[in-house]
């Protein structure tokens, strides 16, 4: 990064934090600190919700997904607008009427303390683990590409978040997120323009669309009914709906954003704004990735976007083998460029046969590129057996570093840091709120002054922040834990949602029924996840148990449905039984 990049980076970060602190002056009591005095407008709520959901990894990996897998990931968000409507119509009025600080308070009013504590505990467990990785993941990528010390990157990112979250509470988080989201969107628009503008003169935007489309990168919608496909219309609209309903309706890091609205109407409008903007925004980010794929048809891409792994292998005992693969990859890239230019020329001349031949050549060279890359990855692992060769998260930032001019690099790095800080701030804010309201105030010290709870909220925000920083320092030694964090989320979200939906819609069902149903559905979800391991375990011993333990291999999005619907059904069934009617 040049001096101008540093100036842009520091100025944008100072602007963001300064604005947040200035707008949040006067958070002198619990209501102001945890709910922002209920002064938030729909616009602030909407951007804050979007900024909370979109972590730095979203902006790093989504263009990479567009580059590698095309645009079908956008279907993941199809259920979101539907969930926003349900939350606005049903959940917001209930939370507002009961005047709650956290979503889990409602569960005690509706069921009992046990159910409230259970849900709050699951939230603290899951978000507490995730907070460290929200800081760590972008730091890892920035440090690898910019040569920054990962520990100092973690520390400074975490420290800045702690300072403004502790100083201004929810209001500072939401106001800061508003500016962060504006800078993030500005950065992505600039990046998208630069990618398209970087195409050769003879390649028009329409040509680029055809090139991307013919290579299967503009595969936005797939209506095929296939439970094993991770992203299609059905998994997006059904699984995505349940996931969004659970995340936005019951996860305190999101609920806290709209509890601070001036009125239920402002909260609803903020949610609906998110429902209308999220899909076009995600489409645009994935589209940048698809256009980057076209860009790299004309500019030879590196064999891996993980520069440090490439350098390590070039200096290892396998350098000759790796060099040969790099040369083969470069030659294949030159062939791909020739086919791409031939296709553009054929299109201009309306020569259909020549166009088809060029497309066939392009597809063959893409297939060959993947083969060579696979071999190169194997060599990189031979050179360093701890190497993780997946480079999707590095594609976008590598492009930024290599092809964007001075100043814009600083802006895009600022975008990534902003996205990391905005998600972390919401997490710390929500973790502190839940610990104070659902644990400390409810179970440990119920009769204290408002000022005491305010001080505790600030102390706990610092505590959770320091914990997140410490966890981020050890995160690279706990690689498998990242998967565990994602797994815990997908395993519990459906059950939590089921409990809330029973609370909202089955007004006569009591706490005992819902607790038994929750245990049942949680075991069902765990079985769905582990059935393949159970079968594999017994198969290794030569025993086929498939007749008793059927192997259920479905993508994790469906866990949200499996955790939720059986819970509702079992709770209703138990309520109908004579035993519970007594």
């Amino acid at each position: 990064m040049g001096t101008l990049d540093w100036v842009v980076l520091i100025l944008t970060q100072l602007l963001i934090v300064g604005y947040g602190l200035w707008k949040s002056q006067g958070s002198k009591n619990m209501q102001a600190y945890l709910l922002g005095n209920r002064e938030m407008t729909w616009f602030t709520i909407g951007l804050s919700i979007m900024a909370t959901q979109a972590s730095a990894i979203t902006f790093l990996s989504a263009p990479g997904l567009g580059y590698d897998d095309g645009m079908r990931f956008v279907q993941f968000y199809f259920g979101l607008p539907l969930a926003m409507v349900i939350i606005s119509a049903v959940i917001v009025p209930i939370y507002r009427r009961l005047n709650v600080y956290t979503a889990y308070e409602y569960l005690e009013k509706r069921f009992d303390l046990r159910t409230r504590a259970f849900a709050a505990f699951l939230f603290l467990l899951q978000r507490g683990l995730a907070a460290g990785f929200t800081i760590f993941a972008p730091s890892l990528i920035l440090s690898a590409l910019l040569g920054w010390n990962i520990y100092w990157t973690n520390f400074f990112t975490g420290l800045v978040v702690i300072i403004y979250t502790v100083s201004g509470g929810t209001k500072a988080v939401s106001q800061t997120q508003k500016v962060q989201m504006v800078i993030i969107l500005l950065g992505m628009v600039v990046a998208g323009y630069m990618v398209v503008n970087g195409l050769p003169k003879e390649v028009s935007f329409n040509d680029a669309l055809h090139l991307a489309g013919k290579m299967g990168k503009l595969n936005v919608v797939d209506f095929e009914v296939d439970l094993t496909t991770k992203y299609n219309f059905w998994s997006g609209i059904i699984g995505g709906f349940f996931l969004a309903l659970s995340y936005f309706g019951t996860d305190q890091s999101q609920v806290q954003r709209y509890l601070g609205g001036q009125s239920a109407a402002q909260s609803r409008l903020g949610l609906l704004f998110n429902g209308m903007i999220k899909i076009p925004m995600q489409f645009a980010i994935l589209f940048i990735g698809a256009m980057m794929f076209v860009f790299y048809m004309f500019q030879a891409p590196p064999i891996s976007f993980k520069r440090n792994l490439v350098e390590n292998t070039r200096n290892s005992a396998y350098k000759q083998e790796f060099k040969a693969l790099e040369q083969a990859y470069d030659k294949n890239s030159a062939d791909k460029k020739a086919y791409a230019l031939a296709m553009v020329k054929a299109r201009k001349e309306k020569n259909y046969d020549a166009e088809q031949a060029a497309v066939a050549g392009l597809r063959a060279s893409e297939k060959k590129a993947k083969e060579i890359k696979g071999k190169a990855n194997a060599v990189m692992v031979k050179a360093d057996n701890t190497a993780d060769t997946r480079d999707i998260n590095y594609i976008f930032i590598s492009y930024v570093m290599k092809y964007l001019p001075l100043g814009l690099v600083g802006l895009l790095v600022s975008v990534i840091i902003s996205a990391s800080m905005s998600s972390t701030a919401s997490e710390l804010n929500a973790l502190a709120s839940t610990t104070v309201i659902d644990i400390y105030k409810r179970m440990i010290k119920p009769e204290a002054s408002d000022q005491h709870y305010l001080r505790m909220s600030k102390v706990l925000t610092i505590g959770w922040g320091l914990y997140a920083i410490v966890l981020s320092m050890f995160a690279n030694r706990l690689g498998a834990l990242i998967e565990a964090v994602n797994l815990i989320g997908s395993l519990v979200y459906g059950t939590i949602l089921g409990i809330f939906l029973v609370a909202f819609f089955l007004k006569k069902v009591g706490s005992k029924e819902v607790f038994i149903a929750a245990v049942f559905s949680e075991l069902l979800v765990i079985y769905c996840h582990t059935s393949q391991y159970i079968n594999a375990f017994f198969a290794a011993k030569g025993v086929d148990v498939g007749w008793f333990f059927p192997n259920i291999n479905i993508p994790f999005l469906w866990y949200n449905v499996i955790g939720c619907l059986p819970l509702i059904f079992v709770a209703w069934l138990l309520h109908q039984s004579k035993f519970f009617k007594k």
Binding site: W42, V74, F78, P81, L82, M84, V85, S88, A89, P93, I94, R96, R97, L98, K109, R110, F111, D112, L209, H210, A212, G213, K214, L218, N219, V220, V221, D222, F223, F233, Q262, S263, A264, A265, Q266, R268, L269, L272, G275, M276, I279, P280, F283, A503, K507, K508, G510, S511
Partner: protein
Amino acid sequence: MTNQETPQEEQINTEEDEKIGLPSIFKNWTQMYVFVLGELALLICLFYIFTKLFE
């Protein structure tokens, strides 16, 4: 313990909120929700055409 709130109370609060912040182009919240879901349907149709056009 079961929920003590009645659907009637919920309705009263919702009506009060409607007066405060509903955009003037909509008569009630249902119209606003239909608008949001309509946009979703339109986006899916446009995405489908986009996919087929460049396939």
